[in-house]
Amino acid sequence: MISKKVLAVIKREYITRFKTKGFIIGTLIFPVILILIFGGIFIFGSIFQPSTRDVAVIDMNGQMYNKFIRLQADSLKNGLPKYNFHKIEVYTETLDTVLAQLKHDLIVAKSIDCILIIPEDVFESKKVEYMARTVSDFEEQRSFSSSFSRIVTNHKLESMGLKADEIRKALAMSRVSVSTRQVTEKGVVEKSGVSGFALTYILTYVMLLLMMTYGQSVMRSVIEEKSQRITETIVSSIRPIELLIGKITGVCGLGLTQLTIFGIFLLGGIALAEPLFTRFGVQSPEVFALLKQVHFTPSLFGYMLLFFTLGYIFFSLIFAAVGAMVTSEEEGQQFQMPIIFLIMIGYFIMFTVAKNPETSQAFWASLIPIFTPMVMFARIAVSDPILPSGTFLSLGIMILSIVLLTMAIAKIYRVGILMYGKKATLKEAIKWLRYK
């Protein structure tokens, strides 16, 4: 049962931080990035929807034009043809004059968007000239290039007496693709190795960032009360341990708020992107395919919240002890380095464990409380939807060590917060453990 006093501390810690610029920016940065990415896809896919382009084609060879326009007969989403081809008849003598006129049309009148010049010896030279006001549309160039290549290839194959269509059919039929599937007790999940790792790295990185940010937040909060001489006023009304618990809980609420917003946007982004974009007529198959590979499920999100909370509590207790031992924020900055290293070690171990989550080293590493949040979560993330061995054991050990750590830190905290003036050594802090 949380007392009203602890609730008041939780509320104060939460609200005073909730209103700060840092928190608002930190909370919104992920949704904003996500919205920018999707917005970008939307804008480029829909608002800048290409209109029909007028292409002037000078076919000096004479055999290319018809075949080419047949291959480039795509239409836009609004139903209009993608290209409006104009066949320009020229003789070698009039080429320069016609070209000059076309360039005028291209640049000044803008009645055409692109000029293609197919030389007479295209089958040998394998070169076509492409002129446009801007040449950055590499997709168009690639598409034209592949159409021309196809025509030239067909021509060559046929001149050798082979049947181009049949060869193509045979080639298409014999293409082999490797699709990755994770086999689990619960069935087969389509998931690529790369995206599984990438997601695990990103999620553990977010956890690492939040644990460090909010652990330091707790430390600064303790130091503020100490250096501003607030502690004594507060602990005359509330027990130090209650103050500590309220503080850690209130700051934890901020981390969970950010993480929840992050998770909801990620889950929503993955689930809603395709139907939403399709509805607005935007096609971006590459992005959709990528999103499908991101295996971020609500249950994984739940584990993320759980392991973040446990890891945060564990480390913020240590941060709080450091805060109680030092007298200024500068000293705090120095003394927090070992803790940050501890957290980082867990992150580095996670890298190797994520690739081989079921080795005995991975198993043992995930049972050590300092590493559990990162390592165990990473093992869960890459193994999802099945739980790797030792999940509940690691949770049990983690919770037990938090309880023991709280009891020890509460003693250091209780003495430390009232020690004004000079910073304590580790030896003194250990002595505080024995104080009545």
Binding site: K5, I230, E232, T233, S237, I238
Partner: protein, 304 residues
């Protein structure tokens, strides 16, 4: 009923005995002085009363209740080392302090308005603490100490850092609270203030209890009395009287300092036998003199 009972409390930190076997009690509605030089153990004792630190031995009972945590809601404590969350708004901070005393929001809000009005700081209600001057911050802190209507008020150097006008304001408020039945413990090393306000006091030095009782009784019993006599006649009585420690004779007038056990009435009797007494005056020592006397001249240095 005794509002506070302290029995034989002792606290050591390592080899250092901060508080050594102190005993006292306070009746309801009394302004009680807790005096002693810096480092005497005042703050440690107060912290033990507040249950912020636990005594090695001895007992503290507040309103008959030995569980200080349940009593803490009835106490207002203004520590000497006091500060506030600089980024918080005045009203939010006061609300927080009130909530820490288990008071309902509506009650606290009413009290905040009342006390800000009394402190002449109503227009600062929505300002952040860091925007306030030091003196204003002190007054806000005082408001935070009293707004939950404590029965016992413990103030550690409440006038430190206040200008004379605000000192007067706080002093009047204290007397007003006393009239309403609030018991006030008032710790200071400024004897002039203690002398004006306190009815009872305890003086501690180096963790030990030196004096304890009502101010008038302490002055009567312990303080070295000074006697002024204007006389006609012989001054022989001055020389062989045990009660007299030293004297300055100006011919018709003599200033006498009594010894530790000196009795003014004995001096008067002896004087009357030898001379015609024109004027006999017992000058009560100031608390400051008592303090210096008790604590010893070696420890005065700059702190008194």
């Amino acid at each position: 009923m005794k509002v506070l009972q302290v029995e034989n409390i002792t606290k050591t930190f390592g080899d250092f005995t901060a508080v050594d076997n102190i005993t006292f009690s306070i009746d309801e509605g009394v302004i009680f002085g807790f005096i002693g030089p810096n480092g005497a153990g005042k703050t440690t004792t107060i912290r033990m009363i507040m249950n912020i630190i636990i005594p090695d031995s001895g007992k503290v009972a507040i309103m008959g209740n030995e569980n200080a945590r349940t009593a803490s809601d009835m106490i207002g404590y203004l520590p000497e080392e006091r500060g506030m969350y600089r980024k918080m708004k005045v009203k939010d901070l006061l609300l927080f302090l009130g909530e820490l005393k288990n008071k309902p929001k509506s009650f606290i809000k009413k009290e905040i308005d009342y006390w800000l009005e009394r402190m002449e700081l109503s227009e600062w209600k929505n300002k952040k603490i860091e925007e306030l001057s030091k003196g204003m911050q002190q007054k806000i802190q005082f408001a935070g100490t009293v707004l939950h209507k404590p029965k016992l008020l413990i103030l550690d150097e409440p006038f430190g850092g206040l200008d004379p006008i605000n000192q007067l304001l706080i002093k009047d408020l204290l007397l007003e609270l006393k009239e309403k039945g609030t018991t006030i413990i008032f710790s200071t090393h400024v004897m002039e203030t203690a002398e004006k306000l306190c009815e009872e006091l305890i003086l501690i030095n180096k963790g030990k209890q030196v004096l304890y009782g009502s101010l008038s009784k302490i002055k009567q019993d312990i303080g070295r009395k000074h006697i002024l006599i204007e006389y006609d006649g012989k001054d022989d009585f001055l020389k062989d009287l045990k009660d007299i420690e030293k004297y300055d004779n100006y011919g018709n007038m003599v200033e006498i300092s009594l010894g530790p056990q000196g009795n003014a009435q004995n001096v008067l009797k002896a004087a009357m036998q030898n001379a015609v007494i024109k004027k006999f005056e017992i000058k009560e020592p100031s608390l400051n003199e008592i303090f210096v006397e008790s604590v010893g001249s070696s420890e005065q240095g700059g702190e008194i």
